[in-house]
Amino acid sequence: MVDISNIPSYPETGRTPPTEMELKLKRQERRGAIIRYTILTVMGLIMLYPLIWMVGASFKTNAEIFSSPWFFPKEPTVQGYIDGWKTSTPYTFGHFFLNSLYIVIPKMIGTAISSVIVAYGFARFEFPGKKILFGILIATLLLPDVVTRIPQYLLFRELGWLDTYLPLFVPQWFAMEAFFVFMLIQFMRSIPRDMEEAARVDGANTLQVLWYIVVPMMRPAIISVCLFVFMWTMNDFLGPLIYISSVENYPVSLALKLSIDATEAFAWNQILAMTVLALTPSLVVFFIAQKYFIDGISTGGVKG
């Protein structure tokens, strides 16, 4: 006869059944998680609501916008988009988008290239005055932008660059953004030097090491830099306001302001529709590059 008296009553998994205390702790943990996630969801919704409302309102008629705080339009219409796109100028909104790209693309490329080169120099080479120069670089981080506005304006005026895009991107070709240089230095410091040394033993010169080894390894950080530049430039209002005077050269940020011109009655649905469109490139680019962006800023030690 087989003795079955010793077979436990919880036979399938071979584990002992959870004790009363374990069950209680599990219940408490689940309850805590529900509360946490509820608070986070509510807070998230509160913060996102203006954005959600804006998207909803861009499909409303002008009359409905101020009649209901609810985001969902009663009679959805794309008229705001159609009229907004035409603008009150001889140019469509597409023209202003192109203008923004004329600034964003050279600025993004220039910033990435110059910041990587300067960061590489600071992170990997010893040269006289390195500490002082690095100190100056970091000090510029603390300098408010507004302090340099007037001297820069005078300089660019002398160069005859007013009402062109040059003042908006040329300074960035000289690693002017200390924040990015610092972020890339931090990222580079987290990369072991062995690979670069291996490349040097393989016969690579300094530029080849940078191009073939360092740049590919820094891809997340470089993508983060590009993303920051893209978003900040798309959103930049003051720079174009100071340097661009012809409507023909307006980027999106100034074109939006045109819609709120005091001489016209405000067409809020058009403004909101174009604001949604103006936001879209930044959001799309962010979501495409999100993975690299998070890797880039977390490894670079610039956590916000």
Partner: protein, 377 residues
């Protein structure tokens, strides 16, 4: 392949710290030279100076006929295998292997031929289309060796290449590397190798000759047997050998035969020690390997008496730790000859084999019991 020469090579850092003190070393054409020493002995710094990754602040490094002090690493005719492989993480194995040749602008057909040949030698053909992160430690190490091999350099440099592998893999890679060196020699293209390690097992099993370093000085350069049998000084004696050599302060006197007084006990040492001595009396450091000091019955003449404080059963042998005076001695006894009545706390007598005793000058650490070797040489 070529001879490598280091002449009075020095390394002084900007802070004034002198890491390498004018070392002289010649690695023959096709020789496998191992640099070994404890952490901080400057073995890696020396290797990096040969590679061109550290500047040389004094002396001369010569590869073949050429002084390479001022040449960049890529022009020195060297290839290097790094401790943590240093494979390019964004390149597949095939590109990792061929990167150096591509930089040299070798024809594509030749690059492919060389890649196939090297991957065949190292049995990594099936890994060519993988990224480094998809490789195990052993595979990554083979790729790293392949990357060096493909360049057919004048000198191969290895910087602790096996230290990141587990013990079993380390043993098999050890054999692979030595086999590869032999194979290249047999094929008529001998490889001059400088191999840095802190692991004396690697040093003893792989090197044609071993260079033992300490604090930026070369302590001895010799083949493994000489290094073990005839250490030039107390440091080499203590560093080479497992378990390490027993070293204890003693006083040497001469009364027809050499006598050693150690921890208040005086023993005579015969077996030809007298003929080997370059000094007849004075304070010395007494050295005997654990394999050469064996337990004998209590009361046996010329044996040192002490107390057992630990026993390690290793299977085929027993490590017996005996305290004699203030010094701990280890005696390695074959298990079949071990007296199992001996336990912790037992009093035992240990008799050193006089033919294997080493005496070192108390101050300089020089071995004063190598006179016969000097006359042989």
């Amino acid at each position: 392949m070529a001879e490598l020469q280091l002449k009075s090579v020095e390394k002084v850092y900007g802070s004034g710290f002198k890491a390498v003190h004018g070392i002289n070393l010649t690695v023959e054409d096709g020789e496998f030279m191992v640099l070994v020493g404890p952490s901080g002995c400057a073995k890696s710094t020396t290797l990096r100076m040969i590679a061109g990754l550290e500047t040389i602040t004094g002396g001369e490094v010569r590869i073949g006929e050429q002084v390479v002090n001022d040449l960049v690493p890529g022009k020195r005719g060297i290839a290097m295998v790094f401790q943590n492989y240093a494979l390019y993480p964004h390149m597949k194995v095939r590109r990792n292997l061929s990167f150096g040749l591509k930089l040299k602008k070798e024809p594509q057909a030749q690059i492919e031929r060389a890649t196939d040949e090297v991957s065949g030698i190292l049995e990594i053909e099936q890994l060519l289309d993988r990224l480094p992160k998809q490789l195990s430690g052993g595979q990554a190490q083979r790729v790293a060796v392949g990357r060096a091999l493909i360049k057919s350099p004048e000198v191969f440099l290895f910087d602790e290449p096996l230290s990141n592998l587990d013990a079993k893999l380390r043993a098999s890679m050890r054999v692979r590397i030595t086999d590869l060196h032999k194979r290249l020699r047999e094929e008529g293209r001998p490889a001059t190798v400088v191999y840095v390690t802190h692991d004396q097992v690697e040093a003893m099993t792989m090197g044609d000759r071993i260079c033992v370093m300490k604090d930026g000085h070369i302590m001895q350069v010799a083949d493994p047997v000489t290094l073990y049998e005839r250490p030039a000084n107390a440091f080499v004696a203590g560093f080479i050998g497992m378990p390490e050599m027993n070293l204890a302060p003693a006083v040497l006197t001469f009364d027809g035969v050499p006598k050693i007084t150690l921890a208040g006990q005086t023993i005579s040492i015969a077996d030809g020690l007298a003929e080997r001595l370059t000094m007849r009396d004075g304070p010395v450091t007494f050295g005997i390997r654990p394999q050469h000091i064996e337990p004998v019955p209590l009361g046996t003449p010329d044996a040192l008496v002490g107390k057992v404080h630990n026993l390690e059963f290793m299977g085929h042998e027993v490590n017996m730790y005996v305290t004699i005076g203030d010094t701990d001695f280890i005696s390695v006894v074959p298990t079949d000859r071990f007296d199992h009545a001996v336990t912790r706390g037992s009093e035992v007598a240990l008799r050193p084999n006089g033919a294997r005793v080493h005496l070192f000058d108390k101050d300089s650490g020089e071995n004063i019991s190598l006179a016969d070797q000097q006359t042989q040489n």
